[in-house]
Symmetry: C2
Subunit: 333 residues, 2 copies
């Protein structure tokens, strides 16, 4: 295991100290328990958008805390759900009377702990709702999941809900918006290499030099099937076909196309995948109206990529274009 | 070699097609010869800021084309200088009467070809000047260099000159600004793993499981020395010490601290490095007034990082904060 770390047990804490050192004017970092909130939280009248999950997927979620996206992020240990206590404290820190909305990736531990935290919040008189993200079409159940896993759509969900929350949309309407996004987005990923969690020190799985894992999860958990290594164009087709068919996306649909890097794959290669994905989307009759290319939800240093398609409309395009000011996603005024 | 590519010889062209597909509303992509220019080029009265170099360092340079940064980027083949013809055509495409400024990383092939292109431009009556970047303190000469190599400072140079050019600063004054930035920034890098150029298919060097290469270049060329793998804190100190001593940075200096990922190292680890680098900078008496953390000048999938320090002043802070709107660096209005 070759990593820029000190001790495996200190990785998350020290990374949070680094986030505090680099972005302390923009976010506040708590180390006891771990959470990151926007520097100007709580915002009066605004629903707090809170997410979290195991670390190892950076920049998700702490990199997305700031104006126009998340109010708070709760990082667990590597590939480990955050505790109810963390989620409760982070939610309280950003609660300003309008309630909090939890964005929860569909993993058993995450779901359970967010439910417990929401109960604790309600006991304190804070309204708490949640939106589940379960966009991965690769497998119906998995090592860590009842139902589909939450992957790339999470990034888009957080951006879109964050933009709407900035406009002081109510908790109920944000939940409805989140459900509509949930039902409009699909993803699938592939790994060329495994990743190694610092605490285990061993690769999450073994792949031969001529093999890839199709439908991989973001924790190195098994995918849909192992397949012989193929070209970028062939791999892109293997990802796009199930994604397009699942929703299904139809001719005439306007879509956001998101090609995500799993951590160890160069941006150069992601653009090669994007090129083919855009071509396939176009052949299918969909119109790509927005795009995102880069490592936004990763699996440590895993080589590979995922593709997410989200059906867009005028309102979602407006929310997507709205200003965002976080450590890892920034644009607009 | 496990890569998301089709054929090694098509990597750069297909990646540029991907950039066109993803960002075609923001930049224009030429495939014959290869270059990327901002969508609204040429800008009347504005000096054209042009850079380029071998591919394999993405997002540099094509990812930095847009308002407030580069007017044009000329990507060569992987780790191969762009041709004079490419540079000439790209410069012409963004020339609007105020001249062009070439930002050139100090590699022998790059320097030569930018000089030839500048001569061709002058023959056509276009004023062309250049600023060299040679910030790498690791080695005085190298496989591809007379003098020091240009590395992380290039990203900062392009951002700062781009912001100044947006304010219609003259070619002469931009060159002076560039020289002052050149003399105020220093970098050093480290690799935990080599990278593999698609056309060779073999790792650029071999490292044992318990070794690292200190002072690595961005093409996998040898560094200062091979050393036993150390902790993140130890490695950070090994990079910061020569960087601080070289300029030298002095107590009281305000600095921008840039921790760059070489491509295969997770953001999580870069923040662990940033944390220690900020601590060392502070112990040295410098004040970190701006920061950048992420994979901004990479070496394909190499694991490792580099650290760049740039001495700042009020004017450089203002230029750093100025709006930028490129595929890979965006903020502000």
């Amino acid at each position: 295991m070759k990593k820029l770390i000190n001790a495996p047990e200190n990785v998350v804490r020290e990374a949070l100290e680094g986030i505090r050192a680099a972005h302390g004017t923009r976010v506040r970092v708590s180390l006891e328990p771990f959470y990151v909130v926007r520097g100007d939280a709580p915002r009066p009248g605004k629903v707090g958008i809170v997410s979290g999950g195991g670390s190892g997927h950076e920049p998700m979620h702490a990199g997305y805390v700031g104006r126009g996206m998340l109010d708070a992020a709760c990082p667990g240990q590597i590939f480990t759900s955050p505790t109810p206590d963390q989620i409760f404290e982070a939610s309280k820190a950003v609660s300003a009377g309008a309630g909090v909305l939890h964005v929860v990736k569909n993993y058993t531990g995450d779901v359970m702990n967010f439910v417990l935290a929401a109960d604790m919040l309600r006991d304190e008189g804070i309204e708490a709702e949640s939106v589940l993200v379960d966009d991965d079409v690769a497998v119906e159940n998995s090592l860590y999941t009842a139902g589909r896993r939450g992957v790339g759509l999470t990034v888009l969900m957080e951006k879109l809900l964050g933009a709407a929350a900035e406009e002081l949309v109510s908790l109920g309407d944000l939940k409805k918006l989140g459900e509509s996004i949930r039902s409009s987005g699909r993803s699938m990923g592939i790994a060329l290499t495994p990743c190694t969690a610092p605490q285990s020190g061993r690769p999450s799985f073994e792949l031969a030099d001529d093999e890839m894992e199709l439908g991989i999860g973001i924790h190195g958990e098994p995918g849909r099937r192992r397949a012989p290594l193929a070209t970028a164009d062939e791999i892109t087709a293997m990802l796009m076909e199930p994604v397009l068919r699942d929703l299904p996306f139809r001719s005439g649909d306007e879509v956001l196309l998101f090609v995500n890097g799993m951590g160890g794959t160069p941006l150069l290669e992601l653009y090669i995948v994007y090129r083919k994905a855009a071509e396939i989307a176009s052949q299918h009759g969909t119109k790509v109206v927005r795009s995102l290319v880069g490592p936004y939800i990763t699996s440590l240093e895993m080589a590979g990529c995922s593709i997410t398609l989200l059906k867009m409309n005028q309102e979602l395009c407006r929310l997507w274009d709205a200003p965002v000011d976080t450590p890892s996603l920034r644009w607009g005024a």
